[in-house]
């Protein structure tokens, strides 16, 4: 079994995101795209300072991806010129990890999974990889996140998992072969459903199933 140490969601008006980063860091984060800013605020909120040097993986999914930045780049390209270097870099989600690592020195691995359907999510894959990698001792903690930047809002849903938990972990997590009728599908509202389950006190575990990959079934249990 692995442990769920933190589960939270963040919601920012786009104009407030840079301020949230400044609050988290005590200074502005220069030349950081909105997805990077979202990653920084969430990761620092998820992992307390004393654990930031532990070997960590960040697995993050996104429906929007760098949408606004891509549209901006396409606009620049259509003018026939070359883009400004930063405008191209801002379309590359992978650079978020490079800007995050100095703040989270234990960050050893970052994997970005763009989603292909706004009605589906990839939590089952992220959590299954976290279970396997934590059980194997590959990392001490794994951050699983869903980050989106739309015109109207920037949102982040975060789950922090570890093999050796914080003092009061929220739940246990393991791969499972049971599929109860009330199992949750892998959809974007899963973090809200999980938050509801965590706020309750019923004995039943919460089960997340992947509609297309039946064996990627995850079971959250109370400790």
């Amino acid at each position: 079994m692995i442990f769920l140490d933190a589960a939270f969601s963040q919601h920012f008006a786009p104009a407030d995101l840079a301020g949230a980063v400044r609050d988290a860091l005590g200074k502005p984060l220069r030349r950081a795209a909105p997805l990077t800013q979202l990653a920084v605020t969430g990761a620092l909120h998820a992992i307390p300072p004393q654990r930031r040097a532990l070997p960590t993986a960040l697995l993050w999914q996104s429906t929007s991806g760098p949408r606004r930045e891509t549209l901006h780049l396409l606009g620049e390209m259509c003018g026939g010129g070359e883009p400004m270097p930063y405008d191209f870099l801002a379309t590359q989600p992978a650079i978020a990890a490079a800007q995050l690592q100095p703040l989270l020195p234990g960050l050893d691995c970052a994997m970005h999974l763009p989603l292909d359907d706004e009605k589906r999510a990839g939590w089952s894959l992220l959590l299954a990889l976290a279970c396997r990698w934590l059980a194997a001792g590959r990392y001490a903690q794994v951050l699983c996140a869903s980050l989106d930047c739309w015109d109207e809002a920037a949102t982040g849903d975060w789950l922090s998992l570890s093999a050796r938990p914080l003092e009061n972990p929220l739940a246990g997590l393991q791969l499972s072969d049971m599929q109860p009728p009330d199992a949750l599908p892998d959809t974007p509202d899963f973090p809200a459903r999980l938050a509801g389950w965590l706020a309750g006190d019923g004995p039943a575990p919460l089960v997340l199933v992947s509609p297309r990959a039946a064996r990627l079934t995850l079971e959250f249990s109370r400790l």
Partner: protein, 360 residues
């Protein structure tokens, strides 16, 4: 459960040929010519796929169809893992303004799945140049754990102006040619590729002995020149494979001809191998740097070379850089290789090492 994961069928389309065996033969023959691609007033060498189709999506469909043909029949439920840096941005460039991007950023992946005849689970990976190995890492983790039994991992990088212009704007491209590890290296040459590997728990000729990804946040565009983080990833990979550095008989380099990244990789290799450096090989002066597809394309090309016991010389290399003080293979070899290490070093600090080993 922790079962071995094997690399079975492979498919490859790139500037050097339309199958892994054809690419290996072209590399063995020393072919490395590139075309040119115009960008405003400038022109850059570019390794393009051949074909008359000009519609971006129909061209992509044709190429994916060729990959499907090379892979052969697969159950429709086979999980699909897609790696790309640019997905279908070339399509949107072609459509022009107003740019109508779909809500989901990887909406190209369902099309690829459809063209491959797959309707099982599908996942997309966008980790710049290490995306291919990230996708393989995820797929092999699930296979090793018994969560899936097999997977197609596909890398896709097709022509678009945005990527070329982005790299050009950062002055990362060579105006002439890629020269891996060479004293005169002055930048990358980009290219197109589609490639796929079928991973499975069913035994095949090649096994994934180790795979580790890492991160070097030295800068957003290149690793720390001391190579420390790159070396650490390779050592982690050796540890997973339960191998010593001396067990590695060949290194397929990242080396793309970048002044800084080539130096960092060379310093990392010295940390790992010391004076007992195995033969070094780079494909990028012959295939181009195919970015998100490069991991899978170069894996498919390398395995084809190893299957034939024909290791090509590294194109583009002529003169040792005193700072690098390493030379890749300059003559072809018929050495039989049992274990090889493949390096990827990407934009955004991404690092990856993969060790392949022949099945005993």
């Amino acid at each position: 459960m922790n079962r071995p994961v094997y690399i079975g069928r492979r498919a490859l389309l790139c500037a050097r040929g339309d199958s892994p065996a054809a690419v290996a033969a072209a590399l063995w023959a020393g072919q490395c010519s590139a075309g040119r691609r115009r960008l405003g007033a400038r022109q850059f060498p570019y390794f393009a796929l051949t074909g008359a189709e000009t519609d971006w999506l129909r061209r992509a469909e044709g190429f994916v169809g060729q990959i499907a043909g090379q892979l052969g029949p697969l159950p429709a439920q086979t999980p699909l893992f897609v790696a790309s840096s640019s997905f279908q941005i070339g399509h949107f460039e072609q459509l022009g303004p107003p740019f109508d991007l779909p809500p989901a950023s990887a909406s190209f992946t369902p099309l690829i799945a459809q063209w491959l005849g797959l309707d099982g689970p599908r996942y997309s990976f966008s980790n710049a140049c290490i995306a291919g190995f990230s996708a393989i890492d995820a797929a092999r983790t699930l296979i090793a754990g018994g969560l899936i039994d097999d997977a197609v991992v596909l890398g896709c990088e097709l022509a678009n102006a945005s990527t070329l212009a982005g790299f050009a704007s950062m002055e990362l491209l060579s105006a002439e040619a890629a020269r891996p590890f060479d004293a005169g290296r002055d930048g990358l040459v980009l290219g197109e590729a589609l490639a796929a590997v079928h991973l499975s728990a069913e035994p095949a000729d090649w096994r994934i002995a180790g795979l580790r990804t890492g991160l070097d946040g030295h800068s957003t565009t290149g690793p720390d020149p001391d190579g420390g983080r790159i070396a650490a990833v390779a050592v982690d990979c050796l540890n997973e494979a339960k191998m010593q550095a001396a067990d590695i008989e060949l290194v397929k380099l990242q080396a793309a001809g970048s002044p800084g990244t080539d130096l960092a990789e060379a310093n990392a290799l010295r940390r790992v191998f010391g004076q007992a450096m195995p033969p070094l090989l780079s494909f990028k002066a012959a295939l181009g740097h195919t970015l998100g597809a490069s991991g899978i394309a170069e894996l498919a090309a390398l395995l084809a070379c190893l299957d034939a016991d024909r290791l090509p010389a590294t194109a583009g290399f002529a003169r040792v850089d005193p700072e690098i003080a390493l030379a890749p293979m300059v003559a072809p070899s018929t050495a039989h290789v049992e274990r090889a290490l493949l390096n990827l070093i990407g934009f955004g600090g991404g690092l990856a090492s993969l060790i392949v080993a022949r099945r005993p």
